[in-house]
């Protein structure tokens, strides 16, 4: 579970921190400023969400009220940004005005109604002494959130989409960005942050807002069980994969938290079904995985409460929030959930085939081995950088103990178990990507908390669990992974990206010579999309996919000819991946496109070449 580079990188990081040239004061101020500015945005969401709860006359306990207010406010803000996108008004004054207006509207609605201010109802949570222990770990993880945009899927599509919308000022469909047709509501919150603050390094701080929602929801759940809220929280921190997604600028964490919040809202004795439906709709509008999870939740809830009207309300929430995305996808691709349901399009089949390669098998033995593999097997087997950790084993242990101590589980536990195991089996049979399973971990955390309550585990066990959880949670730290602290100065950021992204130097060269309106074809270099300054195309998916550009045993010149005919101005190639993945045959592999010093097809002017990437201008 411990990555082989962890000790080495930690030593280098410690050395850098203690070096005389390191400006701790500047970093501390930058961090405080970033958090403070982000908190203002979160406050706007909180006010808006609280007002919505007030208008809907929703009565909830303090912690759950806080969670529901922020989750609803964030969802409503994302929807408002979506509306701005439809109106082609994704511009700084509009986004700022919208944020201020939503905060003011929240204050006005709260003031105009009699009764307590719902906003401050959850402030009691902050009094807990628990925070003294959590603070150092929280600071560490907060610093990791200030790293530049650099993770593979973020530069390929999550943040590439945000950049595209910022440039076009609308939610313009872009078939060159992977999965752009699919729902991605949280990207609009990342977009708001980058537009308001003009700095893409701050976008991951959006996750702080969702971490707060998750904490409050779990704290409420634990309080109902009369156990410490530390149990479910520490359980989640024991999963490197979960902490990792909480630090990523992907949509996964927002979806996970919206889904968890919806579950916690639904298991209330008198659930706020409208709010739960809205929050669940936000989860479904985050990515297709969220729609699947919402479906499983709805089916399980029907069995749990046997109330068609409530399930219909949930379905309506999912449909309402997802509808704009489905319509957008249908308009541009012909399918509401492209690339699925597109006859003749091989991409859905390819996605399934790709997903089935992950994991250690799909039989009963693989299932039994999973808790062990989640700790010991290389995380790459499960398509991620970090392992799931001991959480599955802990879940099995807690469940076994609970069954041993208490023979009949509560209906609520059965419901949570049904949702978790139904999703788990779906995950196990389709794509065993750890990140996808991590989305269901809050459910497992609730089940473990239920087991703790049922078995009355002693409170002192929290101390060793806290030590283990805090230590494990440091494993996926971006600071340790990249051996450095977040860069504050622009030059340091340039140096950071140059040092850690192998394609960045070529992209920087392109920035020197290219105009933003020009077009670049990325050949096996789709992860460079975010930092390529021009419009870019090139991926395993889409109409200009690699497979459509080249064919086996075809000379490189005819493949380049196709790109020239399509009107591209530049060609960026990852030579290593082109060699590894290229199914194009010897004429391609021996050309100067892939092999340094090899013969170049006509019409190419070399602009940049290093031991991995090559950049050409197309005549």
């Amino acid at each position: 579970m411990i990555p082989p580079w962890f000790a080495h990188n930690s030593t280098i990081l410690l050395h850098d921190i203690t070096a005389g040239s390191f400006d701790l004061w500047l970093l501390a101020r930058w961090t405080m400023q970033s958090i403070f500015l982000s908190l203002l945005v979160f406050l706007a969401d909180l006010l808006l969400g609280s007002a919505i709860l007030r208008v809907c006359r929703v009565r909830l306990p303090a912690r759950l009220r806080g969670a529901a207010a922020i989750a609803t406010g964030a969802g409503a803000s994302a929807v408002l940004i979506l509306v701005l996108g439809i109106l082609r008004r994704i511009l700084f004054p509009w986004v700022l005005g919208l944020t201020i207006a939503s905060a003011l509207a929240g204050i006005w609605l709260l003031l105009s109604k009699r009764g307590r201010w719902y906003v401050f109802g959850f402030a009691a949570t902050l009094r807990s002494r628990w925070w003294l222990l959590v603070a150092p770990v929280a600071v560490f993880h907060t610093l990791s959130l200030l790293m530049p945009v650099m993770e593979f899927d973020a530069t390929m599509y999550h943040q590439a989409s945000a950049r595209w919308y910022e440039e076009t000022h609308r939610l313009a469909f872009n078939d060159s960005i992977r999965f752009n047709a699919q729902p991605h509501l949280p990207v609009l919150l990342f977009l708001r942050h980058r537009i308001l603050f003009g700095e893409d390094m701050l976008v991951k701080l959006v996750n702080v807002e969702f971490a707060l929602v998750l904490y409050l929801a779990l704290a409420h759940f634990a309080r109902r069980l009369r156990i410490s809220s530390a149990w479910p929280v520490l359980f989640l921190l024991c999963s490197p994969a979960f902490v990792w997604i909480a630090q990523l600028d992907y949509v996964d964490f927002a979806m996970t938290v919206w889904f968890a919040a919806a579950v916690v809202l639904l298991i209330e004795r008198r659930p706020a079904i409208g709010i739960a439906a809205f929050v669940l709709g936000c989860a479904a509008a985050s990515k297709l995985q969220g729609t699947v999870m919402a479906g499983i939740l709805g089916a399980s809830y029907l069995l749990y409460r046997r109330d068609w009207r409530r399930v219909a309300a949930l379905a309506a929430g999912v449909a309402l929030l997802s509808l704009p995305w489905w319509l957008r996808s249908f308009r541009h691709t012909g399918s509401p959930i492209a690339p699925f349901f597109l006859p003749g399009n091989p991409e859905s089949q390819y996605l399934f085939e790709l997903s089935r390669k992950y994991g250690d098998g799909r039989d009963a033995i693989a299932l039994l081995k999973l808790p062990w593999n989640a700790v010991a097997a290389s995380p790459l087997v499960f398509a991620d950088v970090f392992a799931m950790g001991p959480v599955l084993a802990l879940g099995v242990a807690a469940g076994t103990l609970a069954i041993y101590r208490r023979k009949r589980p509560s209906a609520q536990t059965v419901f949570l178990s049904a949702v978790f195991f139904a999703y788990f089996l779906f995950w196990f049979r389709t794509g065993q990507v750890m990140r996808y399973l991590a989305a269901a971990l809050p459910l497992l955390a609730m089940l473990v908390a239920s087991a703790v309550a049922a078995t009355r585990l002693p409170r002192w066990l929290l101390a060793p669990l806290a030590v283990a959880a805090f230590a494990i949670s440091l494993l996926p730290s971006a600071m340790i992974r990249y051996r450095t602290l977040p860069p504050v100065r622009y030059k340091d950021k340039e140096g950071f990206l140059y040092s850690h992204l192998p394609y960045y130097s070529a992209a920087r060269e392109l920035r020197r010579v290219a105009h933003p309106a020009e077009r670049t074809y990325l050949w096996f270099a789709e992860e460079a999309r975010y930092y390529v300054p021009t419009r870019s195309t090139g991926d395993w998916f889409g109409p200009m996919r690699y497979g459509a550009i080249g064919a086996s045993q075809e000379p490189a010149s005819s493949m380049v000819g196709r790109i020239q005919e399509a009107g591209f101005n530049y060609l960026l190639i990852d030579r290593r991946l082109a060699t590894h993945f290229g199914t194009y045959g010897e004429p391609w592999l021996s050309s100067g496109l892939v092999r340094q010093g090899g013969p170049l097809p006509a019409g190419l002017q070399p602009l940049y070449s290093d031991d991995r990437y090559a950049l050409f201008r197309l005549h």
Partner: protein
């Protein structure tokens, strides 16, 4: 009481925000820009490897200031595989494509943060050129048996100024090639074998370029010992 606590919290937040404010100017603070003082070799022959490394690659050295870790040498815009040292020197492996054709190519250093150094010319000379010309021999006269232009090994050295010397050119003394150091197209030097220096004589000095063209002879006169 509660409003007093709220006021304190608000004041603390305001103070923190004021203290923590990081200005754009602070973020724009630039680090030191790399500077090139000298490159070695500055002139090479087209297609002829130079400073050959064990793996067969040609290498170039750059000395200067602020040549920090992560810096890359760029020749004619192309980055080369670069190794760094203490900040005052870099060395790079030059692919043969970059010195295949004669020309004067800009060489610069790009720091990790994207700062570019001054540019110096990296000259690739054609493999053939005009006949070399000797203008002066240093020394023109010397005393037999007595060292001149003494080098660390105790050997004497002869220097020549002239024109059209090419990298790889060799100084010949009475037709015998000597261990030669190409300095520039107008300067060249060689260690003189001791056997030529023992008695008074007039030594015939020529320069043979790599393309086979030989200069008209110059002269180094060794006088009898006093």
């Amino acid at each position: 009481m509660r409003s007093f606590a709220f006021t304190k919290a608000a004041a603390l937040a305001a103070a923190l925000l004021t203290v923590s404010c990081v200005t754009r100017k602070e973020r724009e603070t630039a680090g030191p820009v790399p500077r090139i003082d000298q490159i070695l070799p500055g002139k090479v022959m087209a297609g002829v490897p130079f400073q050959v490394q064990p793996d067969g690659n040609s290498a170039i050295s750059v000395t200067g200031a602020n040549l920090s870790a992560g810096s890359r040498i760029r020749i004619n815009g192309m980055p080369v595989v670069t190794a760094y040292g203490d900040g005052s020197a870099l060395s790079g492996l030059v692919p043969k494509e970059l010195f295949a054709e004669p020309g004067m190519y800009p060489l610069s250093v790009e720091s990790a943060s994207g700062d570019m150094s001054n540019t110096v010319p990296f000259i690739v000379l054609p493999r053939t050129g005009p006949q070399p010309v000797i203008k002066q021999v240093f020394p023109a006269t010397a005393e037999a048996g007595k060292p001149f232009n003494e080098q660390p090994g105790g050997k004497s050295a002869v220097g020549i100024t002239g024109e059209h010397f090419l990298p790889g050119a060799v100084i010949e003394i009475n037709g015998e090639p000597q261990a030669t150091n190409f300095i520039d197209t107008d300067r060249i030097a060689a260690l003189v074998a001791p056997k030529f220096l023992s008695r008074a004589a007039s030594l015939r000095i020529t320069v043979l370029n790599i393309d086979g063209k030989r200069s008209a002879p110059g002269e180094l006169i060794l006088t009898a010992p006093k």
